[in-house]
């Protein structure tokens, strides 16, 4: 019996040791590579503003369209419940006004809140842990320079066991490593700053990298594409068929900074938000660095790879104003497109009102599951930026699930030259995800 108890105690001690070892914090400050938009000599608040934009804090912490900047409350509907983002204004009672520099750094570097509580990994501390302390504090200085908003945080709606914050300690032990960005001396300065932008700041992986059974990022499949909140974040590896390997540098730069690249379609949904809130503010030199890094991401096909047909026969057979080359199977979809879509997108997919309405070469219309096509039809799409504000209305209230499915499959057939597989049940499911 004594021996048994001793074994238990030893196991507990070893377990605690392993837990603490795996949860150890990297307390180093780290250094960030040079970025054109945030030179070290710049005013700390101006630097913080650029970094906060590059890190796209607004995407999660500002309700779209709200003037309560950084007051939180954006819902994230995950498979196990809903998480609401928090108020990160300097309001002492409801925001982070009472946080010290070390509190703020600990949150970004280790995912731990002011009161020692674990933050949910929906907050991308898995990426922000790479930021240098000086960059983190510049972001804090910027946030604290903005108006305070009194807005209490909304409690999360998570089911057991996901509402147990302490459990994240074990998740962190398994999947999270506190560490600063390590420059790669064998690569150029441009590549290093691109990597810092893509990983530490832009946290591209949070959407574009597949997740494992425990919802942790599977970095062996870095940037190979994933479906999150009903939207598909596309493969952005160098794979020429399924990723962006065949895009030119200027195509990628244009897509990142304007949300559109001729021959590749336009960003919608969360990517349009990323362009609107973040990527369009990058200085051209920094965008080029980001492109240089993305170019170097090893090619991977990913799950359910999408092959883009750049010369879809039906669309090429059509004129600006009249359809041709369609299989007769989907008369309902054709009729809907004729009435609701053709006047802006045109039958050959060139896009009449604006280049943003072009469909040729877009990955959405080449995805036989039609994830993003149905999302855009149901919820609309839009993007505001300098020089281009574009929008497409939502059709979720106008059309039934059967109609949206028929229209999606028609669009996939006509502009992707593929047999769409969207069912009315899929549409019903995607309706729930806004």
């Amino acid at each position: 019996m004594k021996r048994f108890l001793l074994t238990i105690v030893v196991l507990l001690l070893v377990g605690t040791g392993v837990y603490l070892y795996l949860n150890r914090s990297d307390s180093s400050d780290g250094t960030a590579p040079a970025m054109a938009g945030a030179p070290p000599a710049a005013d700390v608040i101006a630097r913080g503003e650029y970094l906060a934009k590059a890190a796209d804090c607004a995407a999660c912490h500002t309700v779209p369209g709200s003037d309560q900047v950084f007051a939180g409350g954006v819902p994230f509907r995950l498979p196990f419940g809903t998480i609401y983002s928090s108020n990160i204004t300097a309001d002492a009672a409801t925001g982070i006004g009472g946080w010290s520099d070390d509190d703020f750094v600990r949150a970004l570097h280790d995912g731990i809140g002011k009161h020692g509580e674990h933050l949910y990994p929906a907050f991308p501390y898995n990426s922000y842990t790479l930021l240098s302390r000086s960059d983190v504090l510049a972001i804090k200085a910027y946030l604290f320079s903005l108006p305070k908003v009194s807005e209490p945080n909304r409690p999360n709606e998570l089911s057991f066991p996901y509402n147990q914050r302490w459990a994240i300690g074990f998740w962190n032990a398994a999947f999270f490593k506190s560490q600063r960005f390590q420059p790669d001396a064998t690569q150029s300065a441009q590549w290093n700053s691109g990597k810092y932008l893509a990983t530490a700041l832009g946290h591209c992986a949070e959407c574009h990298t597949p997740r494992n059974f425990a919802f942790a990022l599977d970095h062996r499949q870095e940037f190979a594409g994933e479906v999150l909140q009903g939207w598909r974040a596309y493969n952005i590896t160098a794979d020429p068929a399924h990723g962006i390997g065949s895009w030119s540098d200027s195509d990628i730069a244009s897509y990142l900074s304007t949300g559109h690249a001729d021959g590749h379609g336009s960003a919608a949904g969360p990517m349009a938000e990323a362009v609107e809130n973040s990527l369009r503010f990058l200085q051209p030199v920094d965008t080029s660095a980001l492109v240089a890094y993305l170019r170097s991401v090893p090619a991977r096909a990913g799950l359910d790879p999408i092959a883009v047909d750049t010369k879809p026969a039906p669309a090429l057979a059509s004129s600006d104003y009249a359809p041709a080359g369609d299989a007769q199977a989907n008369a309902q979809g054709l009729k809907l497109f004729e009435g609701a879509c053709a006047s802006c997108h045109q039958w050959n997919g060139k896009g009449q009102q604006t280049p943003y309405a072009s469909l040729l070469g877009a990955r959405g219309v080449n995805d036989v599951r039609g994830n993003n096509v149905t999302q855009i039809l149901l919820h609309g799409s839009g993007q505001r930026s300098e020089g281009a504000s574009v929008f497409m209305p939502d059709f979720g209230n106008a059309y039934s699930n059967t109609e949206i499915a028929a229209l999606s499959n028609y669009v996939i057939g006509h502009f992707g030259n593929k047999q769409g597989m969207v069912t009315p049940d899929d549409v019903a499911e995607r309706r729930k995800q806004l």
Binding site: Y321, A322, P323, A388
Partner: protein
């Protein structure tokens, strides 16, 4: 300050960049012939021409226009196809309540300009996005054909066959 070319005239307009063209036409420039219908490119009432192409002005942010020439219902009669279409519209007496008709005429004029002899299929594809709650569709089709051929279209009239008879 943007400068718009509307019906051959240049208008400097001081409006937000993302204001839809329809608002600028009606509320700023004062050309109220173009109508607001649904506000989401679904009914066609707001159709105008941009370099001769029919576009829905209610979803067209004014900054996206650039220096392309805008033509509205007020001036479409100065174009050859618009002139033919308006004449046929009168002869066939297409209009019922009239609200959608400026959009219908703009869409039909654009069709005729690019396809001088449209088939039924061409007409369907071009006009499907223009709705008419009075259901003047039969007369619209007839008027487009009449404008194309210059020959009077014989409209299907209500028969005098007695009720219950097989025709």
């Amino acid at each position: 300050m943007l400068s718009l070319s509307v019906n051959g005239q240049s208008y400097p307009v001081d409006v937000p960049d993302d204001m839809p063209l329809l608002w600028v036409l009606r509320d700023v420039i004062g050309l109220t012939g173009t109508k607001f219908g649904c506000g989401m490119a679904q009914c066609g009432a707001c159709t105008v021409h941009l370099d001769g192409q029919a576009v829905r002005s209610c979803v067209l942010p004014v900054e996206a226009i650039g220096n392309r020439a805008i033509t509205t219902i007020e001036a479409v009669g100065n174009t050859p196809s618009g002139q033919k279409i308006q004449q046929a519209w009168l002869e066939v007496d297409v209009v019922q309540c009239g609200y959608c008709q400026s959009g219908q005429i703009m869409a039909a004029a654009a069709l005729l300009a690019r396809t001088p002899q449209p088939t039924d299929q061409d007409i369907d594809a071009a006009m499907a996005g223009n709705l008419c709650r009075c259901a003047t569709y039969v007369r619209i089709r007839a008027a487009i054909k009449q404008a194309a051929t210059g020959k009077a279209e014989i409209l299907q009239t209500i028969g005098s066959t007695p009720e219950g008879a097989v025709s």
